[in-house]
Amino acid sequence: MLAKLWNLLRTRRLDREMDAELRHHLESLEAEHRARGLTPEDARLAARRDFGAVSRTREDHREQRGLPPLETLARDVRLSLRSMRRAPVVTLAVLATLAIGIGANTAIFSVVNAVLIRPLPYPEADRLISISLASPVMQIADLDSAPYVYLTQRDQSRTLEGVGLWFLQAVNVTGREQPERVMALRATADILPVLGVEPLLGRYFTPTDDEPGRRPTAVLMHGYWQRQFGGDRAVVGRTVTVDGAPHDIIGVMPPRFRFLDQDVDLIAPAQLDPARVFAGGFGAPSLARLKPGVTIEQAAADLARLLPVAADAFPVMPGFTREMLDGGEWQPLLLPLKQDVVGDAGNTLWVVMGTLGLVLLVACANVANLILVRTEGRQRELAVRAALGASWGRIARGLLTESIVLGVAGGVLGVAVAYAGLRVLLTLGASSLPRMDEIAIDGSVLLFALAVSVLSALLFGTLPVLRYARPRLAATLRSESRGSSGSREHLRARGALVILQVALALALLVSAGLMIRTFGELAGVDPGFTRPDEVQTLRVTIPASSQPDAELAARRQQAIADAMAALPGVESAAYASALPLQPGVTQMDLLVMEGGRMQAEGELPQNRAFHLVSPEFFATMGTSLVAGRDFTSADLYERRAVALISEDLATREWGSPAEALGRHLRGGSNQQPWREVVGVVSNVHNQGVHEPAGRTVYLPALTEFTMGQPPGVARSVSYVIRSDRAGTPGFLADVQRAVWAVDPELPLADVRTMGDYYGDSLARTSLTLVLLAVAGSMALLLGVIGIYGVVSYAVSQRTREVGIRLALGAERREIGGMFLRQALALTAVGVVVGLAGAIGLARWMSVLLFGVSPLDPVTYVAVSVTLVAAAALASYLPSRRAMRLQPTVALRDD
């Protein structure tokens, strides 16, 4: 058997050998005839005559080899199509079921393939890693690397082929028609060589360009080049003004290049100044390429060796000591770059993929059921064919061909469904999944669809083959199928399918139910601000080139807020260095608290979020003041050493918000002034509603010293404007005029409402919820159809028996009850099996849950009750038909 299969794979070679052999024979015959004096032409004909039909020999030879002649296959397919046409309703039902099942799986596979399976779009991407650090003693799980670490690795690493440092910087591009806010990637000269990417036009930075003090250069990203420069190839050599400084354009990146998962418009050299690099200044992302054959563990060990070397090579950050740095016990945290980009998206995707796989199983069970019914009806046809000489193997092949034709046709429709489904999925998940732009239905996705189709076909096609394609000829021809032992057995097979369907549907509905509960829990979390849809936000940056003086910059920021507040329909306006739920802009610093519990217990200072906020920020956001007072403009302009803290932080450190007032705190550097806590505000979920509310420190928007470095003003701030007109085009035009009335050079960025940020933070959960709910409802529907089908079938099979019982005086109610009881017994078994499955599934998806146990009794009970009720309804309808049978009709019916 295996040899035959193997032969199938090398058909072409075997054909060539066979032909050579046959040719040898024919030519030898010909030679013999010529030797007997025939003309060459006659000899050739005589040879043919002796040999017989060559094509026939070849066919026979091939068949013997194991390849069914193409002709037979074509006939099987033709027969299948004909028999499908004869039963259009069943065929349509089967095709629709398969199209949905295969389509859903294909769509989600195309996402999984793009996000999780395909390597990042760089050459030999498996050697790319991201470099971070962790400090268990300071409870810092993952902190971006640092310039001092990068410089040391660049010069002394034994395991890395190259390493690069980068950070993102929102910049103002001016000197064109309108000022524009764009995202710049500040990168060292080695970033693109490490990634293995070349510019499309011009060149990338040389190490010389990357030296501090050099005239800055810029490489444009393809999209930005197209958008702003119309794809003009002469752009190389021109200049572009970035944050007031002219940059020479030296190159353009190719269209397919994307920097990790970041939306970047242009790349400029980081121009790190080694003279201003300090040991301990963390927070710069860094990526590297391993030397061939080096493992990630070896690279980590190498970096562990270099960390003390690096600390020796650079002066410690002003205000810190070497002891403080060493006390952090920093460890290397190296991850494959792909994992760093993809993050935890895999959790969601694998769960969804798994559940959709289960839906396909349910669909296959349903299709198997339908096909069983149809084959049952064709039992006599098959028996006659067998009697007329078709071998049972031949019949089995015919049945299986039918299933595969159905499966592949369903798969083709499924790909169409996947195209449509993918569009919906991308709309739903656009903001919650990485690498979305790489998702497409490509060759490997189509291959997957084909494999799934054929596999499903084998799955649902095997059952009828096992059941019918075997010698039971005499029995079948003799008896009517009705009431025979064959149909009992048959009913048992269908019962098993029903149990499977109910079990799978239950497991899927439980997982959907748990997601609904999770969503409810998340929606119930008080994010720390109110009515987010009424808060308009936007980001404005005043570069030092435009206003070098910190206080004047702060006054200009305040003037903009005042102009906004004066707009019609605006309650209040304010600004801050970072907004709750806004990704990627939170600044962290070590926090030292006077007389705080942590210090009392000898713990090291913890890394905390520091936000700079203007007066009225909390009033505008709807974050309530728990104790003390808000900042005033005097706090800003007199640069008073004051701070607000979050309620949680106050309670943890000093016992209560009231106790915290008048206490003092400062940032990690001992050069920072002690600040008096003048107020406590309620907790805000800055990192997302599923994360615990951050313990946050708020400083005045203008202050002497922040994050260890002057000048004390946040150059880039987000405005918040509370107005019921938020988000409307007219309002945005008003806001833009208000900003430009103060400074016409300022572009607006990230124009969104607080509600958008809030929605984004729930996006992953709602995507999972929708997908699981769709999967669960599909499984429920299919399961209910399955139960309905089995009971209807049982009723039709036992019409005569019911007739006799009724004639003998059985109660109609009792008859109906009999069918109902049988169906519910099957359902009960399915529910029990399903509960076990659901527990397994729920544990697997527990990372996606929030505020609800994987064993949440409410969900399990509600789903079980729903399912039993649906099953009862589905079996009641056909049972009623049995109750209403007229004995005379039932007995006559043959």
Partner: protein, 113 residues
């Protein structure tokens, strides 16, 4: 008399021919079989090849490429040990069948009596 080859007899003929002649290519085999049958057998020579493949799949013969008398590449077949055993077995069962059929054919029909 029918000149068709009885199912199964061709296999035995091939095996026996290989036993007596040693390794042989398809053309040689066909020639030899026709020669021995002295015109009684009307063999479409092409039917030989599926039979050869079948015997090979059963492990009774094996094949390899070699050079023929006329210095041309040809596939040669030779008997395996299992093939030899098979000849003995088939010969016995064939003799058995022949003697059985013989008895039936020699018993006079009732109307002849």
């Amino acid at each position: 008399m029918s000149k068709e080859v009885l199912q199964g007899t061709l296999d035995l003929m091939v095996l026996r021919t290989l036993e007596s002649m040693g390794p042989q290519h398809g053309f040689g085999l066909a020639k030899r079989i026709l020669q021995i049958s002295e015109g009684i057998l009307d063999l479409n020579q092409g039917t030989l090849y599926p039979a050869l493949l079948r015997l090979e799949q059963r492990g009774w013969i094996r094949s390899k490429w070699g050079t023929s008398d006329h210095n041309r590449k040809a596939k040669f077949y030779e008997l395996t040990a299992r093939g030899r055993r098979q000849i003995a077995q088939e010969t016995e069962s064939w003799t058995h069948t022949v003697s059985l059929m013989d008895r039936f054919l020699r018993t006079p029909a009732p109307e002849d009596r």
